[in-house]
């Protein structure tokens, strides 16, 4: 590693912040683009599982809340792609890579939603898992991203409340409604355990080394379990992992080791709903291409 890169590494590791016009090592820039782009892709793809339920939401209020949540997610994608653009990769290139399957997005958005219970579980627990990661990103060494994360975290907090409200309405309803939540939890638990990524030690994770992420994957997962296992159990729900328990001595949650090969397969586009969702994105992009052409032509 050359001196200038080493100095930069020392700088970010001691809490130094980097702005858009600052010199940065090529490896830092490319890792940053990859990470932030994946986040933008995830916000955009994350819309699709929930979008299916707008027309099927049980009340008008839920319809409105779901629509607003989806608008927020797309807005977040816009903010995030803007940051990627300032690092040198145009939004159109990000979308090209997304629909071609070249770029990744979070595992949870590769799964189908089967019932209204799924909608609650996603808005509550998937968003909660995401916010654990996002809070850590507030300390990202790349300042423009850290700044928009502040805005995003603030807005995501409504989403979790909406999700929890949906869940509470179901669990205090009929046995059938309670059953919808339990059944959804049974299916979503493994993807939730995958969400924070495999337990690579933080100092072997380039994203942590460059302080793009400020915590390791396992630390994030433990925070999620600490915060949400009690909240799930207090509703009378059963988490479908009999081995899940907190070791009081170490304060660590123990659990059945998730299947990391499955995670790898899913994020490389082999999830149950991956192809369907990418196809939808591809199609809607083709459908609206004329708008972009007209708007840009008019403004020229």
């Amino acid at each position: 590693m050359d001196t200038r890169t080493q100095e930069f590494l020392d700088y970010v590791q001691s809490g130094g912040q980097v702005e858009t016009g600052d010199w940065m090592p090529d490896e830092y820039r490319s890792k940053l683009v990859k990470f932030i782009e994946m986040h933008g892709n995830s916000e955009l793809m994350g819309v699709l599982p929930e979008r299916d339920w707008i027309l099927r939401a049980p009340t008008l209020q839920r319809k409105l809340a779901l629509t607003a949540k989806i608008q927020d997610e797309v807005g977040h994608a816009q903010l995030i792609y803007r940051v990627v653009e300032d690092l040198g990769k145009p939004r159109s290139a990000c979308l090209d890579d997304l629909v071609s399957g070249k770029a990744k997005f979070h595992n949870v958005f590769h799964y189908p939603t089967r019932t209204w219970g799924d909608v609650g579980v996603i808005a509550w627990l998937v968003d909660a898992a995401a916010i654990v990661s996002q809070k850590a990103l507030l300390k990202c060494s790349y300042a423009p991203y850290a700044r928009i994360m502040k805005k995003i975290c603030w807005e995501e907090s409504f989403h979790i409340l909406h999700g929890r409200d949906v869940i509470l309405a179901l669990v205090t309803g009929t046995d059938e409604q309670f059953g919808l939540v339990q059944e959804a939890l049974d299916r979503w638990w493994e993807p939730l355990m995958h969400f924070h990524g495999n337990p690579i030690p933080a100092d072997e994770d380039p994203m942590y080394v460059w302080r793009i992420k400020s915590q390791g994957n396992e630390e994030a997962r433990q925070q999620f379990l600490d915060g949400y296992v009690p909240q799930i159990r207090e509703l009378g729900l059963t988490i479908p992992d009999p081995a899940l328990r907190k070791d009081e001595a170490t304060g660590q949650w123990l659990y059945t080791e998730p299947d990391w090969d499955e995670l790898r397969a899913v994020v490389t586009g082999h999830g149950p709903a991956s192809e369907e969702r990418l196809a939808f994105r591809r199609l809607s992009r083709e459908d609206v291409a004329w708008v972009e052409q007209v708007v840009l032509a008019e403004a020229a």
């Binding site: 016009g21 010199w23 940065m24 090529d26 820039r29 608008q71 807005g75 653009e85 690092l87 040198g88």
Partner: protein, 126 residues
């Protein structure tokens, strides 16, 4: 900070021209500043890429004003913003700042002289 500096030697910076010019098909980049409440400073919040000012207003309202979280937004095309960075102090003009004055020793001397040392706050710690 806004990418307005002279190009650095990084190969990637050359390839990406990190935010200096709008990319093909992107339009103009507008910096967005927001004021949270009357009396608060107007602070940089982010940017939007738009074909022109009318679209920039629509996008900024949507992305930075959706929840009535600001009382005002300012939009400024990025090329209108010039950055000044680097404020050298070669002569160490500390007398212009609070850290240029150390009165502790002289204050103690004055209190001793006036016989008021025991009355001073924190005198027991001296």
């Amino acid at each position: 900070m806004l990418g307005a500096r002279a190009p650095e030697e990084s190969a990637a910076a050359e390839a990406g021209s990190a935010g200096r010019e709008p990319q093909r098909g992107q339009g103009t980049i507008f910096e967005v500043f927001r004021q949270e409440r009357k009396g608060q400073p107007i602070q940089h919040a982010g940017s939007v890429a738009a074909p022109d000012g009318r679209f920039a207003e629509i996008y900024a309202r949507e992305q930075y004003g959706r929840r009535q979280e600001s009382v005002a937004l300012w939009l400024v095309p990025r090329e209108a913003v010039s950055e000044i960075a680097g404020f050298p102090d070669e002569f160490e003009l500390k007398y212009r700042r609070v850290d240029g004055y150390s009165i502790k020793a002289r204050l103690r001397e004055a209190r001793e002289k006036a016989g008021t040392l025991e009355l001073a706050p924190g005198a027991a710690d001296e």
